[in-house]
């Protein structure tokens, strides 16, 4: 015979007395420590390891990374056609890889994934990693790629995201408004206003979504009426919100923090965030194809590399590791993606290497990340609109290798393409439809072919460039 246990409300903490949030307990009567269900227990088990390893000295982290990389490389050598020849000598390791051996491995470029993606998928998927799913992304450089991820990479993403929340002491029962590019059914769902939880494994507050293409003023009104604890969006979109907010003399009253992702954060945006909304901005450096790379240190503006999930190298033009305060190419290796190993993948971003962090964490530091900037476009009526090329529909157009949207007058936008051959008329129509999807607006589109799309000054690769200044 079983019985119910009466509920007891959680005691309110005294001010200034911090306790970490309590996970979701699935056993009646047990409130703390929580007795979590099987799936949450696994996520928490990983989180528990992260809370310890973040304080390890860098050499110890590196040693563990190399051990995990050795597994990944051996598996890739044995089961992934693309790597079979190049990595053959590492297929049956007797000891962990050394750093010298690691640095001798070739760099993987976006073009390689575009051209050989199918050969980069394992021929012997492991059932314990679950079925792989495709993730399509234009990345920050306008070169579309498709990669596979699975339940294991998802589990690490959850645990690393939890670490970010805990490090920033976010109130997990708080409300989040999340403004991002949406597609298809999710736009309709967002319009219905149904929230979803935003934290895994813990009692979570609601997260409300909104498509970034909705008119700016309406979105600002929506934020004001939802009165969230956290706003999540792209830095450039945030800037537009902040400026509009200042013009109208309004601000959300309950806000604790703004979380940004997807692009470079201009120092000006940080300043405006603090001045106009009175809160800090915490940025997350992640990409769809590799997951979480780094998040902003809670005590500093620099980024803590998520070394337990990804191996990050910052390399100079000769392929040598950069020293602190040098800027170099970001080369990443997700440690746990065995569905489609990406080994020494040059992601297209640049970053400045940091020195050791003064807080007690031993994770590697990036002072800043360059290269994921995105601008908003201007319509003929002078309205600013957000453009996001990822998943808009350019990727499936076969001859396209790289793309960029450029605008220097409100009457039209220029779609710059690097191609293996000119588009057919059908493909060009497809590209134009993609532009409507990417911007939420029917711009006049001029298609232009280029041999290459160079970086802008400062090393940034931008997939959307707007050369029209801010309205006075």
């Amino acid at each position: 015979m079983s019985t119910k246990v009466p509920a007891v409300s959680e005691p309110a903490p005294e001010s200034g007395d911090h306790t970490d949030p309590i996970p979701r307990s699935e056993v009646p009567g047990i409130l703390w420590p929580a007795f979590t269900g099987p799936k949450d227990s696994v996520t928490l088990s990983i989180l528990g390891q992260l809370l310890v390893s973040q304080n390890w000295p860098p050499e110890m982290l590196l040693r563990r990374q190399l051990r995990q990389l050795t597994e990944l490389v051996a598996y890739a050598a044995k089961t992934v056609p693309f790597y079979r020849d190049g990595l053959a000598s590492f297929a049956r390791p007797k000891r962990p890889l050394t750093m010298d051996e690691w640095q001798s491995l070739p760099i993987l470029r976006r073009k390689d994934i575009q051209e050989h993606g199918a050969e980069m998928v394992t021929r012997r998927p492991m059932k314990e990693h679950s079925a792989a799913v495709d993730v399509q992304t234009s990345g920050s450089t306008g070169e579309a790629v498709t990669v596979k991820r699975n339940a294991v990479t998802g589990r690490f993403f959850s645990a690393l995201t939890l670490r970010d929340h805990l490090a920033h002491r976010r109130n997990l029962s708080g409300k989040v408004t999340y403004i991002r590019r949406m597609s298809g059914a999710s736009i309709e769902a967002a319009k219905e206003g149904k929230p979803a939880p935003w934290v895994e494994g813990f009692p979570s507050g609601p997260m409300y979504f909104r498509d970034v293409h909705e008119p700016l003023d309406e979105t600002l009104d929506w934020i004001l009426s939802e009165d969230p604890d956290y706003v999540m969006s792209y830095p450039t979109y945030l800037r537009a919100l902040l400026r509009r907010s200042a013009e109208r003399g309004v601000r959300p009253g309950n806000l604790r923090q703004v979380v940004t992702f997807g692009e470079v954060v201009d120092p000006e945006v940080r300043k405006e965030c603090s001045e106009i909304w009175g809160v800090t901005l915490a940025d997350v450096y992640s990409t769809q194809e590799v997951g979480l790379i780094a998040f902003q240190c809670p005590e500093h503006e620099h980024y803590l590399v998520q070394a337990e999930g990804i191996f990050v190298e910052v390399l100079d033009d000769d392929g040598r590791p950069c020293s602190p305060s040098d800027v170099g190419r970001v080369v990443v290796t997700p440690l746990h993606n065995f569905s489609m190993p990406l080994i020494r993948y040059e992601i297209g971003d640049f970053a400045e290497v940091g020195g050791p962090c003064h807080s007690r964490r031993g994770l590697p530091i990036l002072n800043r990340v360059l290269g994921r900037s995105r601008n908003m476009l201007v319509t003929p009526s002078g309205e600013r609109v957000w453009a996001s090329l990822t998943g808009a529909g350019l990727e499936p157009i076969e001859p396209i290798r790289q793309f960029q949207v450029y605008q220097d007058n409100p009457a039209e936008i220029e779609l710059r393409l690097v191609v293996t051959r000119e588009l057919s008329s059908e493909e060009e129509a497809q590209a134009r439809r993609a532009m409507v999807k990417a911007t939420g607006y029917e711009f006049a589109v001029k298609v232009v072919y280029r041999d290459e799309i160079p970086r802008s000054a400062g090393g940034k690769y931008e997939d959307v460039v707007c050369a029209i200044g801010d309205p006075p």
Binding site: M1, S2, T3, V5, P6, V8, S9, P11, P13, D17, H18, T19, D20, I22, P23, E26, V27, P28, G29, I30, L31, W32, P33, A34, F35, T36, P38, D40, S41, V42, L44, S45, I46, L47, G48, Q49, L50, L51, V52, S53, P57, M60, R64, Q65, R67, Q68, E71, L72, Y75, M126, E128, H129, V152, R155, F156, A159, L166, E308, L335, H336
Partner: protein, 468 residues
């Protein structure tokens, strides 16, 4: 308490220490993805990793939250508590510490008296099947309480925390010298290799029956060459004496883990001098589980507040200040099968100042009260008494007992009873010494009104006049 300041061998204290969990997913070695069974305990460890750094007030707030769920449940489902908790139970907000202190203390005598009425009449399915834990505790007053998978999961997590705090190498070998259960014996007969660190790539665990001779035990330990030994303090003292006498010692043992009794200061020093091993104690009770572990950084104990609410109370029932000695009153926060609310366990403790490590877990400088002697055989050899197996626990009329060995080696078995024993029970009492030691002694049973404490508050269930 004085702990030797350095490990002389096998120490990883000042080196890097980062044990890797076993991963259940091929290809993933770090961070590990454990299987769901081990993940259950690791999810608790992850929470401990955070909560150990909370302030004392924050810890207490969460303890009272959990304690409120327990008393609300007990008031409704445990006959013994009906009425007893009416002042505090049944509310949907957490009790305050003031209200908590108004709950009457639970004594061993009350647990004995209450019998099954102290257990839930409607056990919670989600807490797993219960099993009965019988113990004479440290005071010779037998009690039996129920445990279940919830208390078991916490026990595993606290044991792992102890291993990690004391930086044990999980690949090492652990030798266990204690009373062996039938389950362990069967598993040994079947040739199974036991592992001591669940969820980690663990070295083997080997067992030795504590009632066998100390000389044989030492030979066995030297032979097995373990990295760690776990046993009772009294037994360890006998091992050290034997080691000193014959001039042989196990070379690799770097830590000796003790439990079940008080550790006298000199034993820590002897451990260092004779075996070159650090002694690390765990304060636990069979009916409760883990209560306090030695601090990883200091010479004191840290209460395991995530599992138990521990109070050190003076004679008026007020909390003791640092430096004061008082009664140990403990509430296991998650045992809904046999709720023990404000249970005076029979031991005493000295409260300590907050830990300098910054951990908010309460500090206990030392415990008093759990002490036990070994008996002497006609051959001069020493023998351990497995009191929990002496059979007296099964006689419900027995409220307390004490085994006293006199100078002529004969035994007086003192019994406090609340009714005359049946003929069958008398036979059990007469056979108690054989059951507990495997040896025949000359036994006189004596019925007494009470068994007084030793000077210093100790209450000993086994006392030898030969030990002076």
């Amino acid at each position: 308490m004085r702990r030797p300041s350095t490990d002389t061998k096998g120490s990883v204290r000042d080196q890097e220490y980062a044990p890797s969990m076993s991963s259940a997913v091929p290809g993933i070695v770090w961070p590990a993805i454990p299987d769901t069974r081990n993940a259950a305990a690791f999810a608790l460890l992850a929470q401990f990793e955070m909560s150990q750094w909370w302030s004392a007030e924050a810890l207490q707030r969460h303890q009272l939250h959990q304690a409120t769920a327990l008393i609300n449940y007990a008031a409704q489902n445990v006959p013994f508590y009906r009425g007893r908790l009416s002042d505090v139970a049944g509310r949907d907000c957490a009790v305050t510490m003031e209200e908590w202190r108004r709950i009457p203390l639970l004594t061993r005598a009350e647990i004995q008296e209450a019998g099954e009425t102290l257990s839930s009449a409607r056990p919670l399915k989600a807490h797993g099947d219960y099993y009965v834990e019988q113990t004479s505790g440290s005071t010779g007053e037998p009690v039996s309480v129920r445990q279940n998978s919830v208390t078991g999961r916490l026990h595993t997590a606290f044991t792992l925390r102890d291993h990690i705090w004391h930086r044990r190498r999980f690949g090492g070998k652990l030798a266990v010298v204690r009373r062996l259960s039938d389950k362990v014996l069967k598993s040994m007969e079947a040739g199974n290799i036991a592992r001591w660190a669940p969820g980690f790539p663990s070295g083997p665990m080997v067992f030795f029956e504590v009632t066998d001779s100390v000389g044989d035990a030492l030979d066995w330990i030297v032979d097995e060459a373990p990295d760690y030994l776990i046993t009772y303090p009294t037994y360890y003292r006998a091992l050290l004496a034997e080691s000193e006498r014959i001039g042989v010692r196990p070379e690799k043992v770097s830590q000796v883990l003790t439990f079940g009794e008080v550790v006298p200061d000199d034993l820590r020093v002897r451990s260092e001098d004779i075996w070159g091993a650090r002694l690390v104690d765990m304060y636990s009770a069979q009916e409760i589980g883990v209560i306090a572990l030695e601090c990883p950084d200091h010479d004191h104990y840290l209460v395991q507040s995530e599992g138990v609410l521990l109070e050190v109370l003076d004679e008026d029932g007020n909390p003791c200040a640092p430096g004061e000695v008082g009664r140990v009153v403990v509430t296991p926060l998650h045992n809904f099968a046999t709720p023990m609310i404000r249970y005076f366990i029979g031991d005493y403790a000295e409260a300590g100042e907050p830990c300098a490590s910054g951990r908010g877990l309460p500090v206990i400088r030392r415990f008093f009260g759990r002490s036990r002697n070994m008996l002497t055989l006609p051959s001069g050899g020493k023998i351990w008494v497995a009191v929990n197996d002496c059979g007296l626990n099964q006689i419900d009329a027995v409220r307390q007992f004490q085994i006293v060995q006199q100078m002529d080696l004969s035994i007086i078995l003192k019994l406090v009873i609340d009714r005359p024993l049946t003929a069958e029970e008398s036979v059990i009492a007469q056979r108690a010494m054989v059951s507990a030691t495997g040896h025949e002694f000359d036994v006189h049973v004596e019925f007494v009104d009470a068994i007084p404490r030793q000077p210093g508050g100790k209450l000993e269930d086994v006392l030898s006049e030969l030990d002076g």
